[in-house]
Structures are given as structure tokens and as C-alpha cells.
Subunit: 401 residues, 2 copies
Amino acid sequence: VSDLTLLTPRGFRAAGAACGLKTKPGTPDLALLVADSPAAAAALFTTNKVVAAPVVLGRRTVRSGRLRAVVVNSGNANACTGAQGLRDAKAMAALAAKALGVKPAEVLVGSTGVIGHFLPMDKIAAGIRDAAARLDRTPAAAESFARAIMTTDLVLKTSAVQGKIGAATVTVAGVCKGSGMIAPNMATMLAYLTTDANIGPAALRSALKAAADISFNAITVDGHTSTNDTVAILASGAAGGPEIVAGTPEFAAFADLLRAVCQDLAAKIVADGEGATRVIEVRIEGAKSDKDARLAARAVANSPLVKCAVHGGDPNWGRVVSAVGYCGAKINEKKLRHWIGDVLVFDAGLPTAFDRAAAEALMRRPRVLLRLDLGLGPAAYTCWTCDLSKEYVSINADYHT
Amino acid sequence: VSDLTLLTPRGFRAAGAACGLKTKPGTPDLALLVADSPAAAAALFTTNKVVAAPVVLGRRTVRSGRLRAVVVNSGNANACTGAQGLRDAKAMAALAAKALGVKPAEVLVGSTGVIGHFLPMDKIAAGIRDAAARLDRTPAAAESFARAIMTTDLVLKTSAVQGKIGAATVTVAGVCKGSGMIAPNMATMLAYLTTDANIGPAALRSALKAAADISFNAITVDGHTSTNDTVAILASGAAGGPEIVAGTPEFAAFADLLRAVCQDLAAKIVADGEGATRVIEVRIEGAKSDKDARLAARAVANSPLVKCAVHGGDPNWGRVVSAVGYCGAKINEKKLRHWIGDVLVFDAGLPTAFDRAAAEALMRRPRVLLRLDLGLGPAAYTCWTCDLSKEYVSINADYHT
């Protein structure tokens, strides 16, 4: 349903404001999301060991499992900013808390943008005041929030689904930003989700982890993990009905809605990857273990040679097969099969006499499927990436710090 | 000394021939190296689990520690060719053995080029006959061998050093090819070395492993390990003197000569990396363990964002620091220091107020040093890569299988 927004789940208001963090005047760069009452909350953060101040703070904040608000700035990542950065992140939570009449410990802070610069706190303060004054439940307010977290993104990324869980109609919605996995001067992946499901923090966290694992954690643009990556969800419970408990059919139904939104958002990040002209789906089947399936999928998805071949529309099975060969997983080339779309191009150690024109046509579609059956076990994993173009090099070489 | 060649070490002859494997007529594509008498030998092969037929055969051949000849073709990798490929590799050894009057088990076979195609054995046979008839010890013969193993290489790669070990003057020499770590339709890294040192196979293998570890195994163009990579050395013993035994000062002196040649050849591969305009040296110090030092060095060297930043001459310390952050090694950003050349740009979690113009000037040199001290222990590792340019994308996207 296309008219659902981040604010369709009942119990939330949002706004975006422009406070001058970005170079171009009037560009939205301060986003505020507020729950009418304390919401169950869960969040996942970057696995990078160099982490930005808002991530250090955010890990503590979400421990309570309850949030009233999310405040995010773009244009400055507040990363590599030391003790001053942490003070600034705390001040940002305090400013939002004051403007909203909630506690600082109930406010999750997010930042994205250039790293190594201190936040201009006067601008942040003005932005928070401005956004707090404009909070609304309209589609325009939802879009305003989504725009204010963008950096190098070319398109707005938003997704939502609705379903019945018992008697309750539950909506799960989300917005995200990201186009390189990182471009430390302007990037990072941030995703904020809302739902009106009646679910507690532990079950929410469990569903979020499962969904992220096969969505946000299954995409790569350049293999580079940001210092600021954050995925957070707030559940207002306003849909009513009994509380959704892990291990029940109701939980499975909720997890499914959440997975759908996360996968849709993740796909939008890849499609908007820096310089991307097409999305590549790498599907590994028949691996000996889950770990092997992931290793194989990521090796193919991160290979610049594979990404260049897809960019050129070239059915270059050799690059795919050799990437699987060095990925570290158990591989037996005599059992290996590889398809481009539904065209079998490599079978048990040997290339097939495949229809080259058909394979080339499949390689030129907006979405290219590279499928491999390792023939060694039951494990499978799918991940998504984009092609590697000259435009990627332009964006990342010609752009200066 | 610049007039040393692959055939300066006494006891070897070589030749190159054109047998029509490459598209352009008359391009050398068959190389032969012959020892006057059985030479001590050692070789290292790709760690890829998808391996070409000559690698399968070569691993068996070198087990004896003695070789009389090396035969290499370019233009066809004999990879992903199954049982027929292995028969062809054996036939190639037999053809060379017959032409030279030695045993097939004394001939190491190498192949590089397109994968998934059977070797045209009639052309190979003609090439071997032709090369065998032209074997010589001249610099022209050495160059002819080196040219015949090239594929996408833009420059001939050769290196040699000479030193006294005891009373004997020992030469170590080598040639290599490679410009992408792999571009499975025309690439792979191959290196062939000769020496007249009097050294046995076990000591030779030990020295080769140590040298390769900090040379050929410390370079990356695109992180993609080929199915055919091979480094082999033959020692004729013609320099005389007592046999060099592992653990002695003489062994250390020999290992040092070998390391110098391997590092010089490896540097030449990186400098000729597809689309490369500059070489990047990534030097990690202060790591907790050797493994951590390698993880950190390789994460920086394989980051397309770092490689693009160097291409653009941009002192983008954030990309370097965040790559170290996600590499999997133990990292504490508060102990981390990063220099571009000798300019300290990041110190204990914070960027410094560095001289931007000086750092930019260092980034625009043909050779850029990115140095990091993790501040956690004694381990160090250095690796080399090249920048990522639009030309890399052109070579790998516009080139069709």
C-alpha cells in the first residue's frame, strides 16, 4: 500500500528542520520522531570498532527498552570527536528531551555526515527547537523526517506494510538513508522504524535482529562498514490486542511484516548505491554451513571484478566461480553449479554451452541474479549489492574532504 | 645491478615463442626455462579452492624438490577444464620433456589467460618445439621468456640481485606477470625465479615461503585471488661453495637476496595494477598479533573508498581509520595513530590540525605511504596496493569474455 508512511502507525509524530549543518542553505538536516507515550524500543549498531559518539551513547540508551524520541542530524557524523563528541551527543539528547518534556535517557541520538568535526551545538539547538515546534502526524511530516536524515542519497527511501495480527491491524513502517556503506565524509546507513504493534522490548529486539540479518546486514555497496550505522524501531502498542510474545504465530506474523519492510529498505539502499546502475542479487544454496553460505555470498558481492562485469553486462562466470573459490568456505568445484538468472552457465567444474545472448540480456536488466549451488549441504544465504561504475570512482575520488 | 637477467644465474637457458594462443598473431605466448642439470626446486600455489589444471599437476610435480624445466603458456589458463584440462597439462609436460630429453615429472607446467577453454594442444606442441629450438643464455632469451608469460601487463617485470655468500657469488633473479590479482579472462600472477646458489629443496622452500609472505602475499590489486597463481624457484647450485643450510648466516644471506627480488617483483605488479596511477604502501605497526596486523593492512589496502581517495589525492584519514575499525583486529581508537607519509593526521581518537597542503602533496606522489600504529603490541605488517581509477572500471567492465 503506497500511501502508508512512517507516521501511519498510531502514536507518533515527526518533523524535519534545516539548521545549517549542510553547506547548502535550507537543506533539511535535523530530524525528530516522538512517541506520544513511552514506546518499546530496540536498536542495532555498527560492528565497527571505531564508533561515533551517538553510537556509544545510543547503546546505553536503548538498554532500558523504552524510548520517547529519536533525534538525528545529518551533515556531521560526530565521529572521531573524542570526549567532546560524547558530551555533544548527550547535550543533543538533553536539548530534545527539554523541548519535548521527556527525559534525556528516553531520547535516541543519531548523526551522519562528515567525520572529525565537532557538532555546532548552537545550530543543533535551534534545529531541535524548530523541529519540535513543527511535529505532526501528516505524510508531509513523515517525508520531512526522511529528508532530514539524507546525505549523498539521490532518492528518498521509505517503506511500510500493514497486516492483521489477531484482531488488530498492525502497521510497520520505516525510513532509511545510505548510498555507500560508508563514505566517511558524507554517508553511513541509518534506518528508523515505527510500529503500532503491542510488543515488548525483548521480542521487538529479537524480531529486529532476525530481520536485519537478512536485510541491512545482507547488503554491501563497497564492503566498508560505517562508524555510525544504526537501525532502531519504536513500538507504540496503539494497535491494541494482547501483547505479542516471542515464539507465537502472532510473533511470526509481526516478524514477517518487519522483515518485509527491512528488506525493501535495504534493497532501496543498494539500488541507490554510489554510481549504481543495477542491483545484483547473490544467492548461495547448498553450502555446508550458514557461515560458509555467508562467506560465499559476500565474496561474490564484494568482488570488484564481479561488480565490473555486471556493469558491463558481461556473463563472466569465471569471476564469480573464482570468488567463491577464495572465500574461505568449503568448496568442491566438481559439485559447483552457477546460474545467471535461470541460465546454467557452470556445471560441476565445467562451463556449459549456454545461450550467450540470453545470459547477456539477463545481465543487462535492472536486477541481476547470480545464483550458486555449492552442492555440499543445506545452508543458503542471499545478499544484494550493486554494480561498480566509473561514476563510483568519480564520487569517491573527485569528492574532497 | 641492471644488466642482470633471469639467466645470469649459471646453469639455465630459456626461450619464448609465439604459437597462436593469443589473438594477435606473433605475440609470444609459450615460455620455456631449462636447467642444465636437475635443479633444487620449490613452488607455492594459489590458495583458491577452484584451481587450474596446471596447479593440480604442479603441486605433485614439485613434491620431489627437483626440476629440469618450466613450461608456461599465456592466453589460456587451462582452468575450469575438468579431466580434459588435467590430461592437457600432463601432455604439455610430456611434450616439453620429450623436446628436452628429460622426464615429464621434472617439468613444471604453468598457464595463464582465459578460463573455461581447452588448450589447443597442436599449437602448444608447435610452440614447445619452437621454444626448445631457440633456448639460449642471452639477455634476449631471458626477455623472450618474460614476454611470453605476459597477458594484460603493460610493462615487462624482471628483477635480480647479486651477493657474496661465503666465497661464492650468488645471483637470484626472477620474472613475473600480473596486473589484476585476477581478471579471469586474462590475468593471474605468475613468478619464476632462478638462482645459482647451492641450496637444497627444503631450505629453498623455507626461504621462498618467507619471501613470498612479505612480497607476493602482501600485494593486492582487487582482493581477487586467481585460480592459477604460482611462484616457483629453481636453484642450479652452479655458484659452488658448501650447501646452504637453514638456520645459518649463509641461509639468512640467501633469504635476504630472495626477499629483495620478490619484493621488487611484487612492487612492479602493483605499479602495473589495472588502471593504477600510484602505489599505496599500507604499514601497520603496534598490532596485538601478526594476524591482527595483516587483517588491518589488508582491510585498508582492499577498501575501494581508500583506493579512490588516494586516486583523488585526498588525505581522507576517516576512510583509513574506519577500515581498520571493521577489519576484525583488536582496535582501540584512543590508542590509534595514523600518518600520511610522515604527517600525523589522526592521534588517539582525534584528527590532528595537520598541514593539509603537505598531506595532499604526499598523496599525489607516485608512491603513497599510509602508516598506522595501533598502539596495542609489537606486531607489524606492510602490504602494497594501487589506487582505484575509472580506468580500472573500463578495463574490467568494457572487456568482454
